[in-house]
Symmetry: C2
Subunit: 264 residues, 2 copies
């Protein structure tokens, strides 16, 4: 891939902890790894919600039957991890962002029990039919270690403190629609951004491949070949409502910076 | 739920082993549970193909990097399990059929290496870009134990021999389309089947909720309430091409049996 010819003005991206919190918040089902009585690893499909706040904010809350193998496993050994794949993946599974949240489970009690119950019901509507059955228990997975894989060649780890402090990206639920809109109706603006702000003044065309609260990922075509770059908003967006004006702001800033000569 | 008023003529269903082989063959990605160096359970997203034949027919073939945590885990301890969720689920995750295949992994060699490589590449097209990289290895998961969950209240276990001997249902890839067609265009025929063959002569209407090589699942409405029943083809279908005539045959058999009085 050709390198950028100038500095990328704002290369800010979400941290691995933020990526992980965003993926965890994007769906309500994943796969649990627990330990059988003989210490073998047992993978099983589960639903979950996330604790919203407190010292274990972002911790998955499971609701499983002790009649099921994973329920017996958790009761006998609290070590567990949960793998979650971001929804909406394409035809290549390994291009999908995904995470592993590893730690230990506990059965919540007192105030935490009420919060855990609410968190699970908010995420898993059908749980209202069985959450109060006597064979079902809630389990909070206290996250000790996080692994995030963003796709090919994008991966990082995060610790418990960063994961707990991170906030799900408010832009994520709108990202797919915004990407489609930008590519369909604003291809020229994307190319201007890539030339003026993305470090590739020789951009011939640009396609948006990702959007988050910090900026856009662009795939640029240049006479030197194709490359990925980044155009940051210059500030963190705190609401999805800010996405439209932030993106328009990028086009304006690219134009104000003046489009440099198209060839180096 | 009201019970049937007569015997169900052919209640045959796929076995748990057949259900599991069919789900495993329906997609190419799942979640692996492996063991970390400290014996903790590690859940991670993986792609797989299936060995087609031989003593481990149906065994998942993984292709993972030894730079990745799960690759290091498998190299240090061969115990593993793979959870796979049937594609195409609806809004309630726990209604989705899913399986766990548990056993031990080995690195294939000789003839098995070639078969494993072919199996993985046939299922995971993008693997051609990395399967021959020096940090990637193939692993065959020898299945020792199978757990199948078909949805709420439908679940069973299977042993290795039954799983290996089972064949993926050839009707499965067409099931969704066939169900939609039957419900849209043949609601009367479904009700006739339920009355004459499904044990519910008081059926007012029937909806097809599942199709496999052995028959149809029907949700029937009766004056006594709603119930699920089964209408078997009377023989196992060995090709998806047989589905249309087998279904038409059920309607003809229901009519030949004569529709019993609509009320008990």
């Amino acid at each position: 891939m050709p390198p950028p010819l100038r500095d990328i003005v704002d290369p800010t991206r979400p941290s691995a902890a933020e990526e992980a919190r965003t993926i965890a918040a994007a769906t309500n089902a994943g796969t649990l790894a627990s330990l059988t009585a003989t210490g073998d690893p047992w993978a099983s499909f589960v639903t979950y919600g996330l604790l919203e706040s407190g010292p274990d904010a972002g911790a998955p809350v499971l609701c499983v039957s002790h009649l099921a193998e994973h329920g017996r496993n958790l009761a006998a050994d609290p070590r567990a991890s949960l793998a979650v794949v971001a929804p909406g993946g394409g035809s290549d599974p390994l291009a999908s962002p995904r995470i592993t949240l590893a730690g230990v489970v506990r059965q919540p009690a007192g105030d935490e029990l009420a919060a855990a119950r609410d968190a699970h019901l908010a995420a898993v509507e059908a749980a209202k039919f069985y959450i109060d059955y006597s064979d079902f228990s809630l389990w909070v997975l206290r996250v000790q270690r996080v692994r995030w894989v963003g796709g090919y060649g994008r991966m990082d780890s995060a610790g418990a403190a960063d994961y707990t402090a991170a906030v799900p990206d408010p832009v994520a639920p709108l990202a797919a629609g915004a990407i489609a809109h930008l590519n369909a109706d604003h291809a020229g603006g994307l190319a201007e951004m890539a030339r003026a702000l993305g470090g590739f003044p020789d951009t011939e065309s640009a396609v948006c491949t990702g959007i988050d609260r910090y900026g856009l990922d662009l795939l640029v075509s240049t006479p030197r070949g194709a490359a990925y770059t980044r155009v940051g908003f210059g500030a963190r967006l705190d609401s999805a409502d800010e996405l439209r004006s932030a993106t328009a702001g990028l086009v304006n800033r690219a134009r104000a910076a003046g489009t440099p000569p198209g060839r180096p």
